[in-house]
């Protein structure tokens, strides 16, 4: 479980996040949704420690991350897997080497064991026979899946997924969402997904946090989301014609 208490962050004079309180539950896909520029990616980077918040704390199963020593922070980070918006695969390494990277850096297995684990992770995300290709030689959807394979290689306790569907077609997006959903249950991880894609929310959202103007505006489940009368949330959710039709159908 990850708990965020009173987290605030500003860049210069711009206040990006104000007093965010949230609990992200274990074994569930916790989604952070909001408009572009609402501060959801900054929240994610504050939680993983890439940004230092001005106020507040983040607790990883009771461990206050920002109060830890650098070495202890690194140890917590070894329990974290993250899929970046851009996949962030290492260009100079092949698909297999990318997945092997965390294992070689921190793993205790021998080389054969590491190779087995890397192949298992790649198989789990349905990537086979692409071991020797470089990231630039595979599609965006495949890059995301390799990114997921790398993120789960070390059996993480926490998984962060930043806009997993950006740049992907709807069909591949659903595959990625389902994969994240399945892996969360399989590895019993605390997953935090940052998204503004409503299909993702409908596919994989168990516990949703809506960020508006840097504040935790609304929290609830997928079902509650569709029935909420929160104006800002409704403006965001039902911005598209398709979602308005869904709402009308629900009313009928």
């Amino acid at each position: 479980m990850i708990e965020v208490r009173g987290l605030s962050k500003r860049f210069g004079r711009t206040q990006v996040l104000t007093d965010i309180n949230a609990v992200f539950q274990k074994g569930k896909v916790n989604q952070v949704i909001g408009k572009s520029g609402s501060g959801k990616s900054v929240l994610c980077k504050c939680i993983v420690g890439l940004f230092e918040p001005e106020e507040g704390e983040v607790l990883y199963d009771g461990r206050s991350f920002h109060n830890l020593e650098l070495e202890q922070k690194r140890q917590v980070r070894q329990e974290i897997g993250m899929l970046f918006q851009s996949s962030a695969l290492f260009d100079s390494l092949t698909v297999l080497e990318n997945v092997l990277f965390p294992l070689r850096m921190f793993g205790t297995m021998d080389e054969a064991g590491m190779l087995d684990r890397a192949h298992l992770c790649l198989k789990r995300v349905n990537i086979e026979g692409k071991d020797r290709l470089f990231p630039s030689e595979i599609s965006g959807g495949m890059q995301k899946r390799v990114g997921i394979a790398r993120a789960i290689a070390m059996n993480p306790r926490y998984l962060f997924v930043d806009e997993p569907n950006s740049g992907l077609d709807p069909q591949t997006s659903i595959l990625i969402d389902n994969l994240i959903d399945e892996l969360t249950a399989e590895y019993d991880m605390t997953t935090i997904m940052i998204t503004h894609d409503m299909n993702s929310v409908m596919e994989a959202g168990d516990n949703i946090l809506f960020i508006h103007e840097g504040r935790a505006w609304w929290k609830g489940s997928r079902e509650e989301l569709l029935r909420s009368d929160n104006k800002e949330l409704n403006d965001f959710i039902f911005a598209s014609g398709l979602m308005r039709k869904v709402k009308d159908a629900m009313k009928r």
Binding site: K45, V48, G49, L50, R74, Q75, V76, R77, Q78, I80, M82, F84, Q85, S86, A88, L89, F90, D91, F101, P102, R104, M105, F106, M154, F160
Partner: protein, 246 residues
Amino acid sequence: MDLLFHIGRYFQLIRETFTRPERFGLYWKRTLEEVDLLGVKSLGIVALLSVFMGAVITIQTKTNIDSPLIPLYVVGFTARQSTILEFSPTIISLILAGKVGSTIAAQIGSMRVREQIDALDIMGVNSAGYLILPKVIACVVINPFLVVISMFLSIFGGYLAGTLSGLVSGEVYLQGIQTDFTPYHVTYALIKTVVFAFIITTVSAYQGYYTQGGTREVGISSTRAVVYSDVVILIMNYLLTQLLLI
């Protein structure tokens, strides 16, 4: 204030770079790759520059000697002294700052804007150490070899230019390069080279590591890496000369 901020952050980065590596084996492999990329692949440009640099020094020295009282072996002597004391360690380092420095800043800067450094940090890898330390070690080890090769080639270039143009005979040139040789001058040159190698890699890595934005900013970081490395090299060149030669 801005300058103090950058100096402080630069030394913070250096401290992070020199913390204990997670896996020595991986760092060792990366260091060897960097020796090839930053050192061995610079050999061509170093050789070319050195030969022509030595040739020009020889021709210019000879054409500037007007007095019959100055013996001709001074041409060889001047070529050797200029090469060992200044041209090979400093000019070659300035050239390497252009070639190697821009490569380092562009490489690390691209990794930053494409979130690959964030990925390393989140995995718990000391990204500064993993990315920068192998480059520093590679350049600090390989650059003195490049400079020694440059010294030989520059003096050889002077010999070729002198003899082929008929400005000075081979025998006189060889006499000149052996006159009043002080081995300490080579030590001085190598000390400078090691310091300059450290400056090139760390200043360039600093520019790349803190790149913010996109590809345009990567280009800006690359340019800054070369300019700032050159400025720091020139200042350190003066200070080291003052310290080591006087």
